[in-house]
Symmetry: C2
Subunit: 350 residues, 2 copies
């Protein structure tokens, strides 16, 4: 072993869902089955490649202004990053420096513990109940910050706004992060609480509801003190995180409210019909407020179904994690994709 | 003061050069005055916006393979990130964990001390000599790692390969980073030393010599153990750093060797004629192996020239830093831009 090897940061990285290169029915990474808004397509086609030789606007003024307009806040209340993972990682590094453990549910987005580990932030996981529900009183104890996904992943369940406010009421001295990656699909957003709580950070993304996973745009909404602190950390790591393409297409993606609403309605409709079909086939489904279904079959093993689907080139997500290891997370695709999925499931269950 | 404010990470961020929004002669952030390769322009125009709804390849396989081919290494020897700043920040976090001070020159890219600060890495700066030269023996002492820019910024001076090898010979137990952002403009790259030293990391960028500052692509070349460690840290922060556009256009930008060589030749030619003109006007210029000139006038104050140029909508870079506060850093533009610049300088010096 070389001496320098001793000083390499030891980590256990997050493992993202597979990105298969050949055509498959891809219901494994919660992408949107519909293309981005027509304005995005126009922006790509009309882009002057000469702008690529110049550094992008480090303050992302245009994109922040457009996001701020949607939520009725100022651009100084908006932080943008390379997907919500970048935004959340920056928030961990910026806010969780007390040395006390950060609290998050034991079943949630598995990146939370990875960020805590990579930045050497202590944390404590809080068990969800047997129905995967979160209880605010479990977050009353002393801590270095609180983060939860709402709706939660991979359970798809959304807690009401009263839950978020309860947590905020009991955690005035730390930063509370509501990770709302999936909120547009029927959840209740904590954005309305921003005026009341200056320690609240709400994180959202263009990757799901705006069909822009490939563009890498996430954002945080919060009080100006929080956003300024995150900007300072960002400008201490990489001044230019958002490239010219994402700045230009991002503006178009968030501007088109009608396309956004129409796409959401289609996905929610497909989600509800798919849920019904799954239940008829003997699956238990949580009450999803996301673009995926979290399901478990009453008699058949989840991992076996996952593998049988994969053999048929249908990708869903399986987590080999205690408590959810008999569940599948199935992204809501188009009706056509779901039909192919259901034919395969029928065959597998036969 | 709120309790949560105590636990915000305190930093002094890097201040990037201005990105003015109205048309100016922009010689302040070392961008390439020529557009990216024609293949990049075609890739942008032909891009299917539907791919934006999907996550990009987290392993950046296509881009890493193409970069590896240029240097005759394997794709496992290549790490890509959102500009070389992202790559360097990741390297700091990955490798500089010994608790001993990292060494770098006192006059160099000012982001080094910012990364050290944000990640709480101790560091010690090593004075350059009166001619801004670096001396390997100054880096023999015990340390937690070594990083230098070669060519150095903002001095534009390139140390010979023997300097890099001397540092490597005397620093076997730590990671040595050669930051070669400007090396394509006439410097001597340490890539040839990679086979011999498994603790060497060479970092380069698409932002300067490949006219892709707006695309945010940087890369590191190194032994597989180093690259794997950086990948692990990357996958512990953000799995998908490179968006679909930069992956696709990046491949085209690095593939076109002829365009690359032609662009470099033009810039080097303009640099040398500009240097001669500056010297005739009473400026001292270092021996630049970069796409910028580092200059000081024998009798006129640098800051005053900087401000007088700015009034005329000509932007160059001025650093209010002891030791270089009577110097200007002037990016090499097109011949036409330089003519406008020189007319203004003549006027100012009158």
């Amino acid at each position: 072993m070389k001496a320098w090897e001793n000083n390499i940061r030891q980590v256990v990285p997050y493992v993202p869902g597979e990105q298969p290169r050949r055509p498959v029915i891809k219901l494994n990474t919660n992408e949107n089955p519909y293309p981005p808004a027509p304005g995005v397509q126009a922006a790509v086609r009309e882009m002057d490649p000469d702008c690529l030789r110049l550094y992008p606007d480090p303050d992302c003024t245009g994109l922040c202004t457009e996001i701020a307009a949607v939520y009725g806040v100022e651009k100084e209340n908006v932080f943008v990053g390379v997907g919500s993972d970048d935004v959340l990682a920056t928030a961990f590094l910026t806010f969780f420096n007390s040395g006390k453990p950060v609290l998050f549910p034991d079943i949630t987005y598995s990146f939370y513990r990875v960020w805590a580990d990579v930045y050497r932030i202590p944390y404590e996981t809080v068990p969800v109940d047997k129905d995967f529900r979160l209880h605010a009183e479990d977050y009353y104890k002393e801590n270095g910050g609180v983060i939860f996904a709402n709706p939660n992943a991979p359970t798809a369940i959304c807690e009401p706004l009263s839950f978020v406010e309860d947590i905020l009421e009991h955690n005035r001295d730390v930063i509370v992060i509501a990770d709302e990656a999936y909120v547009d699909f029927g959840g209740e957003s904590a954005v309305s609480l921003l005026d009341k709580y200056d320690n609240l950070l709400v994180v959202q993304t263009f990757s799901k509801s705006r069909s822009m996973a490939g563009s890498r745009i996430g954002y945080a909404l919060g009080g100006q003190a929080l956003i300024r602190s995150m900007e300072n950390v960002k400008f201490s790591i990489n001044s230019y995180t958002m490239n010219q393409y994402s700045l230009k297409t991002g503006v178009e993606a968030i501007r088109d409210r009608q396309y956004f609403e129409d796409t959401l309605a289609k996905i929610i409709r497909t989600r509800e019909t798919s849920k019904k079909r799954l239940e008829e086939m003997g699956f238990f489904c949580t009450d999803s407020k996301t673009n995926f279904l979290f399901v478990s079959h009453k008699s058949r093993n989840a991992k076996e179904i996952f593998e049988a689907l994969k053999e048929r080139d249908i990708y869903v997500r399986y987590f080999n994690t205690p408590g959810i290891d008999n569940y599948l997370r199935i992204t809501v695709g188009t009706d056509e994709e779901m039909d192919i999925f259901f034919r395969a499931v029928e065959e597998i269950l036969k």
